[in-house]
């Protein structure tokens, strides 16, 4: 990737506690190309949403970026003053939250919230902003947008509200949209529609998307690349097709095994034994080693960094050259 839109370099997010800081996101690295859709998967607590919030500059205290850098189009943004960060939010990077029922201010109409957002970032008149707002609602598939724009959020269904949220996120034509579990709170029947709208509208505008989810199926259909996170680190990152067809990290293998498919005939889904360690209880070495059926000595001592493997990177000692050379693995 020559000119990435977004670069996250060695990002570390910590929470100070009375027993010392807890590291919730530990030295993660990735790039995002313009127009690309990157899926981020992992269990709850893996650090997906925190990474998203950190890129937005909206980490909830006491969480903080302890070290690392975030670059947007060659400009470092994580250390900008508040006002400069605010000017980026909504304008260049925007976000879609999980629950559309609580994302909209119940006391303002959709029009008020859209126009406010547009006029914060673009120098347009009230009537011009309103025209744009109606256009946006139209784009995201709200029927009779012109009439419904003056309704209050509670007058819309959950799926419709999430469309409004997407319209708000796109209001100032951002370059990057971070969607944090955008369908989790919705009925299964509308989940696919919302993902379609998000994908279609972003690609029309050339915006990149970071799609945070724990649903591998959504990623398989939507994303170009996927980053699998485990316990605050990236376990594996690469093109969706490669990873789905040939997962390398034992955790990813387990994750893929847990997706039901129509093609394969299996009696039961594979389940990864155990559960992700708590932040204050991360084992030495690879965080996944207690649950990994291929773990060996080194996994319990040293923590693996991402290792280049063709189109992708994997953080697993199984693919380390010296380990492979010694032929230690059975």
């Amino acid at each position: 990737m020559t000119n990435p839109l977004l670069s996250v370099k060695d990002l570390v997010i910590e929470f100070p506690t009375r027993f010392g800081p807890l590291t919730a996101v530990d030295t993660i690295n990735f790039d995002l190309a313009p127009g690309e859709i990157l899926g981020v998967v992992g269990e709850s607590g893996a650090g997906k949403s925190l990474t998203g919030s950190a890129i937005m500059g909206l980490l909830d205290p006491p969480g903080r970026i302890a070290s690392g850098e975030i670059w947007l189009k060659g400009e470092r943004i994580d250390n900008l003053p508040n006002e400069a960060q605010r000017a980026i939010r909504g304008r260049r990077i925007s976000m879609v939250f999980q629950d559309p029922l609580t994302s909209l201010n119940p006391l303002y109409t959709i029009a008020e919230q859209l126009i406010e957002t547009i006029r914060t970032h673009l120098k347009v008149s009230e009537s011009e902003a309103r025209k744009r707002a109606i256009g946006l609602l139209d784009d995201v598939g709200i029927p009779a947008a012109e009439r419904r724009i003056d309704d209050y959020p509670h007058q819309f269904s959950g799926g419709m509200r999430q469309r409004v949220v997407i319209a708000l996120a796109l209001a100032a034509e951002p370059e990057l949209v971070i969607a944090d579990e955008p369908t989790t709170a919705l009925d299964v029947s509308v989940q696919a529609q919302i993902i379609d709208v998000l994908k279609e509208q972003c690609s029309e505008r050339g915006a990149s998307v970071i799609l945070i989810t724990h649903d591998m199926g959504v990623i398989a259909e939507t994303a170009n690349r996927v980053a699998v996170m485990y316990s605050g680190r990236i376990a594996e990152i690469g093109p969706v097709k490669d990873i789905i067809q040939n997962a390398m990290h034992p955790y990813t293998v387990g994750l893929m095994g847990s997706i039901p498919t129509l093609a394969q005939e299996e009696d039961r889904l594979v389940q990864i034994p155990g559960s992700m360690p708590r932040l204050n209880d991360i084992p030495q070495g690879c965080a996944f080693n207690p649950r990994c059926d291929r773990a060996f000595e080194k996994c319990r001592i040293d923590r693996p960094d991402l290792i280049d493997q063709g189109t992708r990177q994997v953080a697993c000692w199984l693919y380390d050259e010296t380990v492979l050379a010694k032929g230690k693995i059975a």
Binding site: R89, T102, N105, L107, T109, D151, Y152, Q155
Partner: protein, 327 residues
């Protein structure tokens, strides 16, 4: 919405009937009204005549209905102590209490909301923390101590302001006002601060707590994510949402200001209804107590009703008709 309003009005009437029952029972059963009206030298005929006059020979429900009828016509009986109609005494003293309560409520709301918003936005600031700590002392301080403290500083030590009374008043029809004379204006300062301070602290702490709660909600996070300015978020979004619960409590606080005026009026010998009530308790002047109870209940019930209706004005979720809900 109309159905809701009607239901609330009926509820209010029910509360008033209950309070009326309490007031009437006091009137009827606490002490002997005949004893209280007639002195030591009385004949059996006197007693019978007064009993008949007061309707004490009627069955209880009829007495209650008659009592309610009298009350709605503004007839609260005769004060045992002063021998004058209670309604006249109260009408004479009401302006003093209402002026005091009005100024205090204004102080409490303006400063309470302002400081509450300030301390919520500057949550970790030194000034905000100082205000919060002071406010806790303010809540713990009994009102009468604040009054005494103010008297000591501004009346005894500095001699700037009067320590008791209302100053000169001007009669406007039946209303006597202290707002039109210098001494009247000076006299209201200390009592108004004393009375308003406690409510101000309560409103401030409530506004702060609600605002912090609202600032944590998803729609505020989303507003941040949309890049809205801090100003727009704090005052446009957060404050409006904060106001919904704050209005209830503030409304009720305004009601309590009238009740708490009892204490302030005692400290400053302010010639209002509260002082009248305290004297009535000391001398067991039941008709005055009952009348005060009825009047203050009407006030509270009215305020409650208004507060409920205000909800509709501020929260679209309540006034929207159900048919337009898209599902």
């Amino acid at each position: 919405m109309l159905a809701y309003v009607i239901r609330r009005v009926f509820q209010s009437l029910f509360v008033l009937l209950m309070v009326g029952l309490v007031a009437f029972s006091m009137f009827r059963f606490v002490g002997d009204p005949v004893d209280n009206l007639l002195g030591q030298e009385r004949t059996q005929a006197d007693i019978e005549r007064v009993r008949e006059q007061l309707g004490l020979n009627d069955p209880f429900p009829i007495q209650y209905v008659k009592f309610l009828g009298n009350v709605t016509r503004g007839n609260f009986g005769v004060s045992y102590r002063q021998g004058r109609p209670v309604a006249d005494i109260i009408a004479e003293r009401a302006p003093a209490t209402l002026e005091l309560a009005g100024v205090s409520a204004l102080l409490a709301v303006v400063f309470g909301v302002g400081l509450g918003v300030f301390t919520a936005i500057r949550r970790d600031g030194i000034v905000a923390n100082f205000i919060m700590t002071t406010s806790l002392i303010g809540v713990s301080l009994p009102t009468f101590l604040i009054g005494i403290l103010l008297i000591y500083i501004f009346a005894v030590e500095l001699g700037w302001l009067p320590s008791f009374g209302r100053g000169e008043t001007v009669q406007l029809g039946w209303w006597s006002t202290g707002f039109l004379t210098e001494s009247g204006l000076k006299a209201i300062i200390l009592p108004a601060i004393t009375l308003g301070l406690y409510q101000m602290t309560l409103i401030m702490r409530l506004v702060r707590a609600e605002m912090l709660e609202v600032l944590r909600t998803d729609y505020i996070k989303f507003a941040r994510a949309r890049g809205l300015s801090e100003r727009a978020i704090n005052f446009g979004h957060a404050l409006k949402n904060t106001m919904v619960p704050v209005i209830t409590v503030t409304g009720l606080q305004i009601g309590s200001i009238i009740a708490f005026a009892i204490i302030t009026e005692t400290v400053f010998q302010w010639p209002g209804v509260g002082l009248l009530f305290i004297n009535a308790i000391q001398f067991v002047d039941i008709p005055v107590m009952a009348a005060y109870l009825m009047l203050i209940s009407v006030m509270f019930v009215l305020i409650n009703l208004i507060v409920d209706l205000l909800y509709f004005a501020i929260d679209p979720r309540l006034s929207a008709d159900a048919s337009s809900r898209g599902h």
